[in-house]
Every structure is written in structure tokens, then in C-alpha cells.
């Protein structure tokens, strides 16, 4: 329980840090990019929204930085992220909540598949260390971990869409169809998600394999594995229940630490496939200088990652008896 409370404290602290970073970064930049952006949009959006933006970015000169900060925090707590400039007059919240499910779905499915598959392959590779698979797979996945996600995505588009015409080029569903819960729409979503998911899984899996292999190499030399061998237990049982089970725990911690990397890769992959999720929206916000939307997206992505990390930590605390024994 104490561990979980400590992780919760860290969660809140990091959340506060992310929110504060969001406040500080535009104010640290030379030449005030926000007022330049507002000048460009002057006359195109209504005066009330303009005033709200000025307040949000601290261009109201009658407030000092601390008052601005308090007001900023107050807005965030009440979920007021202002109006999107590029999707005017839609509020930022509406734009973001439309994109979130696409990203969350893709992220959850690919992360789970990559984790399970990678952990399993890593287990086998470590078990047969020095064998053919190890000699081939380990260097292969070291190399694969260095391939940019988005470039692999581009190559996948070239092969499967442009060359073989097997799968759609991009976007989340067929052009012109509307979002319904029908069978045909579901198959569209699946066929459009296939290539992005495949690229993410292929690039993410290498990391799981390598960490699992390295953990497993450690547990395989433990006395309890030797004991199990001496008792003549079936090898499969030793591999999974003795060595594998104990090697997974550090992998779970690694899961928490790698979430940031996975999400970064995911966002770039979405951009390549013009997938209607947060990554693509992020690019839109950046290239249109839609700062309110960009700030909200940064916070949403960070909060999502923090929640995932917290869940992994809690799972770790529940699964690992040692974390409980200390307190």
C-alpha cells in the first residue's frame, strides 16, 4: 500500500510539472511567438475568443506572472483549454476528445501485442542462448530498434499500398463514409489500422525481446532454476514458471519507462499514415501555430502516459511480493 501511495505522489508531482512546463515554455521563448500568432489571426476570430486567448497566454499586461499562473491552473482544473484557432470556433476540448479514441485504441492494442509477443520471444531466445535463433534474432532486433518508426511506416505504405494495393494508404476509415457502429465500418477501421499497427509492433517488439532476454539470462543462473533442473522438471515448465516468471517483473518496470518512447513513435506513425488520432492533430496544431490546441494535446498525451505508468507500477506492486514485504 505504501508503495502505491508513493507512486501516486509521484504521479501528482509529474502532472504538476507537466502543467507548469506548459505554462513556462511559451514565456521563455524570445520574441513572443504567441502574440505574433494572435496578430495573424486578428479579425478572423471574434473579439471575445481573442480576449480569452490573450488571458490564456498571459498577454494581459495588468496581471503579474503569479496571478497568470493561478488563473492558468484554475482554467486547467475546470477543463477549460480555450478555443482552437485552426478549428475555430470549436473548443479545444471537443477537437481533442474526437481524436483521443483513435490513438488510445491503436496504442493499447499495439502495446499489448508487442509486450506479450516480445516477452515470449525473449524468453525463448534466452532459453536457447547461443543457439541459431539467438545468433540471428538478437542482432536483428538490435538493428531493428534503430530503425525510425515513421520510415518503416513509409516503407510499409510503399509496399502494401502503392506496390501491391493490398491495404489502404492512410486515414482511419474510407473517405466519405461516416462513423457508425456497423460491420462494414468496423472492417474499414481494421483494414486502415492494420499497417500502422504492424509498423508499431515490429519496431517496438525489439526492445521487449532484448530486455526479456537479458533478464532471463540472469534468472537462468539462479539456484532455484538449477534445483528445478536437478529435480528433472519438464524444461517447458522451468522456462515459463521458474525462469520466465521471475524475469517478467523487471520487464514490467521497463514497460513503465518505455511508455514515453512508445507514444513518441506512435505519434509519428500516425502522422505518416494521416491516422485521425492525436499525433496527426498535433502536427496540424504545430504547423497552423494553433498554440491552445497544441498545449492541450501535450497535456493530454502526458496525462495518458502518466496513467499508464501508474497502472504498470501498481501492477508491479501487486505482482512483486518484495515491494510489499518492505513496508
Amino acid at each position: 500500500m505504501a508503495v502505491i501511495i508513493r507512486r501516486l505522489e509521484f504521479f501528482l508531482l509529474t502532472l504538476w510539472a507537466a502543467i507548469t512546463l506548459n505554462f513556462i515554455i511559451p514565456r521563455l521563448m524570445p520574441g513572443n511567438p504567441v502574440s505574433a500568432m494572435l496578430a495573424r489571426y486578428h479579425g478572423r476570430i471574434n473579439p471575445a475568443a481573442m480576449k480569452a486567448l490573450q488571458v490564456a497566454f498571459g498577454l494581459h499586461t495588468n496581471q503579474n506572472v503569479f496571478q497568470q499562473y493561478i488563473e492558468y491552473l484554475n482554467n486547467i482544473i475546470h477543463g477549460q483549454f480555450g478555443t482552437s484557432v485552426s478549428y475555430f470556433p470549436q473548443p479545444v476540448m471537443t477537437v481533442v476528445t474526437q481524436a483521443m479514441p483513435w490513438t488510445l485504441g491503436l496504442a493499447a492494442i499495439t502495446t499489448i501485442i508487442a509486450f506479450l509477443l516480445g516477452t515470449f520471444i525473449g524468453m525463448i531466445v534466452a532459453w536457447r542462448r547461443g543457439g541459431f535463433v539467438d545468433g540471428l534474432a538478437t542482432p536483428l532486433f538490435v538493428i531493428l530498434s534503430a530503425v525510425p518508426y515513421f520510415w518503416l511506416g513509409l516503407m510499409a505504405i510503399y509496399l502494401f499500398s502503392v506496390h501491391w494495393h493490398l491495404l489502404p494508404l492512410g486515414f482511419g476509415y474510407d473517405e466519405g463514409s461516416s462513423i457508425t457502429f456497423s460491420w462494414s465500418f468496423t472492417t474499414q477501421v481494421i483494414s486502415h489500422a492494420m499497417l500502422p499497427a504492424l509498423t508499431i509492433i515490429i519496431t517496438a517488439i525489439g526492445g521487449w525481446i532484448l530486455t526479456m532476454r537479458n533478464n532471463m539470462v540472469g534468472t537462468l543462473s539462479e539456484d532455484y532454476v538449477r534445483m528445478a533442473r536437478a529435480k528433472g522438471l519438464p524444461p517447458l515448465r522451468i522456462m515459463i514458471l521458474y525462469a520466465g516468471r521471475n524475469a517478467i517483473l523487471p520487464n514490467l518496470t521497463g514497460f513503465a519507462l518505455s511508455m514515453g518512447f512508445v507514444v513518441s513513435g506512435l505519434l509519428l506513425t500516425e502522422i505518416v499514415f494521416t491516422y485521425p488520432g492525436v499525433g496527426y492533430l498535433f502536427l496540424q496544431a504545430v504547423s497552423n501555430e494553433d498554440y491552445p490546441l497544441m498545449q492541450a494535446l501535450f497535456l493530454f498525451v502526458t496525462v495518458t502516459v502518466l496513467v499508464a505508468v501508474l497502472l504498470a507500477d501498481v501492477a508491479n506492486a501487486i505482482l512483486d511480493p518484495r515491494t510489499r514485504a518492505h513496508h
Partner: protein, 315 residues
Amino acid sequence: MYPEVALQDSVPSEAQPGGRAAWLARPGRVGRFLLSNRKATLGFVILGIFIVMAIFAPMIAPYDPNATAFLPTLPPSHDHFLGTTSQGQDIFSQLIWGARQTLLIGGIAGLAATALSVLVGVTAAYLGGLVDHILSVITDIFLVIPALPLMLVIAAYAQGGGMWVLITVIAVTGWSFGARQIRPQALSLRHRDFLESARVRGENSAYIIVFEILPNMISLIVAIFLGAALYAVLAAAGLQFIGLGNADEISWGTMLYWGENNEALLSGSPLWIMAPGACIALLGASVALINYAVDELGNPALRTARRQRGRRAAG
């Protein structure tokens, strides 16, 4: 049973008086190991080719990379090994010149991130107490905040900018992983005899950190630099690909940007995108291979050896 253990034991122990002597004794052994390791050799060969490419770009490249002097979207031929872009530039020449900025960003941003890691990690371990606690929490926070969104936000506010904005953004987001590895090792060195003796000699903290602690962590620092450089190459490529670098400077990332914006995959010059991406992947792979070999150096158990078979036969 484990012949490699001997190597680990013979790595100069930090308890020896005179950290510098230990440091000087190490590189030779490290070098010999890396030369005899196939993964590392492959990595060094690839990296070496790219470095030669970058240094001698004006001599290797057949044409001016910016010249729009040729017919657009030519297929590969004797005159144009990789064909031409839709603007009529020679792709092969761009690829050769692109190595320069890509390597430069990887090297400089990698070094900057490593320097930050060392600074934070060693300071936290050496000063201890409240400073250690605060620095550790900051490190953990930067570790979990996703890097790409943070980089996008900073780069967007910085309004384009060229190589130096990229380097700053990458260093600021890329130091935490290294700092987290440095701290425990610096902590373990803190109460070794040779540091105590330096303190008794009356050396100041700066001297002790630079000349006594750092030399003893050189192999870890090299490993962290390799990881940071790999991160920098990939991050720079990603940022340039989505247009957040200076698109007028030639690098593999900006080639990808222009290729994608001119729909190179659809319009018959796929090499415009394939070639720079393959180079980034190869460069990344070379660094990752060297890094993995350095890992094996520190942890002999990771090596792909044939001893497993022997043990099973015995058991």
C-alpha cells in the same frame, strides 16, 4: 565454467589508489574486446563509412546537391545512381551531403545530453541529501514525460530555427535516462578509499569529480553517449521529417521531409525516401551494435556464447 569472469575481475578495481591510473589501464582492454567482437566491428565499419562520407562529401558527391539541373524523377542510371528528385536534384549527391548534418546533430546533441546526464547524476550522488532527492525526482519526471510532444511544443514556439534549435531540444529531452544510470555508479564510488585519500589530501570537490570520479566511470559514460547519440539521430530525423528543422539545410531528415511533401512514393521516385531512411537506420544500427557490445563488455553473461550447450550436456 565462466572464462569471461576473469575479464571482469581484471578490470581495474576502483579501490586502487589513483583513479587515473585505473582509467589509463582500461581503454586498451576495452579496445581489444571491441575489436574481437563481431557486432562491434560491424558497427564501427558502418559508422566509419558514414564519417568518411560526411568529411569528404565535396569529393565524393558527383553533383551540387542543391542544383536543380536535371530532368525530374529520373530512374537510377549510370549518371544518377539513385535517380533524381521531382525538382531535378541528384538524390545520390544529396545523400552524401546529408550525412554531414545528420552526423553533426547526432554527435553534438549526444554529447550535450551526456554532459547533462553526468552533471545531474554525479552532482546528485556526490552532494547527497536534499539535493540528491530533488535532482532524482526531476530526473524521474523527465524520464516519464513523453519526449516527442515536449520536443514538438518547444520547437513550435521556437519558430523553425535550424540545427541548434534541434540540438537544444534533443539535449533537453534526452538526458534523463543517462542521469539515472550515472547516479548509482557515482554513489558506489563515493566512499572508496582513493576518494577519501583525495579528500584528505585537501583536493576540492571539482577536482575530485573531474579527475577521480569521472575517469572511473568512463565505460558507462561511453555507453550513455552511444545511447544518447542514437536517440539524437532518430529524434532529429523525426523532427526534420515533420518539418521542424530548417528545410533548406540538407540532411537525411529534410530529404525525407521533401520526399514526403512531393509524394515521392506515389510519383515514381521512391528512392528519394528509401535511401535517406535506410541510411538513418544503418547509422542507428551501427551505434546500437557498438552499444550492445559495450553492454556485453560490462556484463559478460549477456554474450552469445556456446557454454549453454556444455552445461546442458553436463547436467
